[in-house]
């Protein structure tokens, strides 16, 4: 069933204006904090009332400002997973799940509770209270509790933000396997690109209350439509450009001329970008898109090295800097003598143009 959202809501100093259509499957809502992700979820769930717009699931209208429809959250059949789980502290795991099944007969309730607990592998902890559980277990109870009433749409508000790093990966897998059988739309809110990319085939990038990009993750990642989307995708290297009539692109901040496949030139594009790990070391056979760079700073991470360089022809401000991400071995083999320039190659097939 299709989740369709078009909402507007005004706050002092902030305006939410979001519309999208999400078929069954997992949609990642990606955006920095304060971009309106959580507010969007709360509007869909009926916990906040938009000023204007329409929200529907399939044929059923949940909210329509023109028709004066605003279903209370109780009637929407939308599951919500809260950032801090929001488990009822005075009820056991069973009690927490049973809360959403109060309309059903006891036998039916018990059956669903048993099934859901099995689904999240928590059968042994049914009689525990939330504070007797670890963070990951609490998360699974919250998930079971949200799924038990068989919602048509599941909303997940930064579900991993309260977990330790090592639990995060584990919970991601639990979530992915649970949601692979979920028949409806699941909207997953996060500010972490990695999480969203791993879990969601479709992404929606929010910035400042507006939709910046929407589509399959590969498309947005490989070819972000605008600057904000490119930054959200983790692209550190963006330079202002001037398009030349011969099809070349002049990267103003980097001070170099770039060749670009003609079919990927976008009219009125304002910036060119490349991901740090797509930059190569210039070889003897490379003839185009070469840049002589001076190494400014090298930062080591466990698995890779971040090298900050500056094109010798580029501007001397922050935009002129280029950040490269290379595996550690590659950097180690290079053994660059001090003060020697680094010849970089920006492969044309890896460059992308964006609108501002």
């Amino acid at each position: 069933m299709n989740l369709s959202v078009q909402i507007k809501k005004k706050f002092p100093g902030f305006q939410l204006d979001v519309s999208f259509n999400a078929p069954a499957g997992m949609l990642g809502l990606l955006g920095p904090s304060g971009s309106g992700k959580s507010m969007t979820l709360r509007c869909i769930a009926g916990l906040q009332k938009p000023d204007k717009g329409r929200i529907s699931i399939g044929e059923q209208v949940l909210f329509d400002s023109e028709q004066g429809i605003n279903l209370p959250p109780q009637w929407r059949k939308i599951g919500f997973l809260f950032q801090n789980y929001a488990l009822f502290p005075h009820l056991t795991v069973t009690g927490n799940i049973a809360m959403g099944l109060r309309g059903l007969q006891e036998k039916e309730q018990k059956k669903i509770i048993r099934e859901t607990l099995a689904l999240v592998k928590l059968e042994a902890l049914a009689k525990r209270y939330p504070h007797q559980l670890s963070g990951g277990q609490q998360q699974r109870v919250a998930l079971a509790r949200a799924l038990a009433p068989r919602p048509r749409v599941l909303l997940l508000d930064e579900p991993f933000s309260a977990l330790d790093n090592h639990l995060r990966g584990e919970m991601e897998q639990v979530l992915a396997s649970l949601l692979s059988t979920f028949p409806g739309t699941a909207v997953f809110v996060t500010h972490k690109l990695d999480e969203a990319y791993r879990l969601c085939p479709e992404l929606l990038v929010l910035e400042n209350g507006r939709v910046n990009a929407v589509g399959p993750r590969e498309a947005i990642f490989n070819n972000p439509p605008n600057l904000a989307a490119a930054r959200m995708m983790g692209c550190q290297n963006l330079s202002k450009i001037r398009l030349h009539s011969d099809g070349t692109v002049e990267a103003l901040d980097w001070g170099c001329l770039l060749h670009f496949p003609a079919e990927r030139i976008k009219a009125e594009a304002g910036h060119v970008g490349i991901y740090g790990n797509h930059i190569r070391l210039g070889g003897k056979n490379d003839k185009i898109n070469l840049m002589d760079c001076q190494v400014l700073e090298v930062t080591e991470s466990p698995h890779h090295v971040t090298i900050k360089v500056k094109s010798v022809n580029g501007t001397w401000d922050n935009q002129g800097c280029i950040t490269i991400d290379w595996p550690k071995e590659k950097w180690g083999q290079l053994c660059l003598p001090k003060d020697q320039l680094l010849k970089l190659s920006l492969p044309p097939e890896r460059l992308f143009l964006t609108w501002d």
């Binding site: 709360r42 916990l47 929407r76 059949k77 919500f80 809260f82 929001a86 809360m99 959403g100 007797q132």
Partner: protein
């Protein structure tokens, strides 16, 4: 010794606590979800009996329930009057006890994480069930504390009771009133007995509350230790 002040005091305090409990919880529930412009005005109005001198309350209640007052006339239509009756002691005690119940319950309701209520809403739980099964159990220590404070305050009420209910032995004379009039007529020894009685009851209520709270804390700690 005439024991009627003890029974009248206990009866009055219990009845007043029941009224203050129902009205206080209702007002607290309404205020905890109310976001309107009048919030602080209403809150101030509900707290007012706590800060006003009891004589001022007594005066206002007389105006309301007196023969020419709006409620007094309404009651006259029904063929009854409350002034100088046992009901008057209950009304006076309930009014002074109400703010303690209301304020403590409101504080307790506001302590409940709003995400819990929202979570229940998205699970399809009706508002009334959310209140009964989530808000009240989680706010329970506050509600109990409010009830006991309200009871203790109702038990000690003097000024407004005297003005609205008078001092009629066997009908409206509560322990505080008995003490006052015994001292005034020079019977200090008998007054001292009542003083001891009221100290005992109040102390029992307050220490009972403390004991219960500590035990609650212990059970919680035990659960936490697993």
């Amino acid at each position: 010794m005439e024991l009627s002040p003890l029974w009248i005091s206990l009866k009055t305090a219990l009845a007043a606590t029941v009224i203050a409990f129902i009205l206080g919880i209702t007002a607290a529930k309404a205020m905890s979800s109310y976001r309107g412009r009048l919030k602080s005005v209403l809150d101030g109005f509900f707290i007012l009996p706590l800060v006003l001198p009891p004589t001022v309350l007594g005066f206002l209640l007389l105006v309301l329930f007196g023969r020419h007052g709006p409620l007094g006339q309404l009651l006259a239509l029904l063929g009854t009057t409350v002034i100088f009756s046992w009901s008057a002691t209950v009304i006076a005690a309930a009014v002074v006890a109400f703010p303690l119940m209301y304020r403590t319950a409101l504080g307790a309701f506001e302590q409940v994480d709003p995400d819990l209520l929202d979570a229940a809403r998205t699970m399809g739980v009706p508002e009334i069930t959310i209140f009964a099964r989530i808000t009240v159990p989680l706010a329970w220590p506050g509600i109990v504390a409010g009830t006991i404070l309200a009871f203790a305050r109702a038990l000690g009420e003097f000024g407004a009771t005297l003005m609205l209910a008078g001092n009629i032995p066997g009908r409206t004379q509560t322990i505080p009133l008995a003490i006052f009039f015994l001292v005034e007529s020079g019977q200090r020894a008998r007054a001292a007995v009542w003083v001891l009685v009221i100290i005992t009851i109040s102390l029992a209520a307050i220490t009972g509350l403390q004991y219960w709270k500590n035990r609650q804390g212990l059970t919680l700690a035990r659960i936490k230790e697993g």
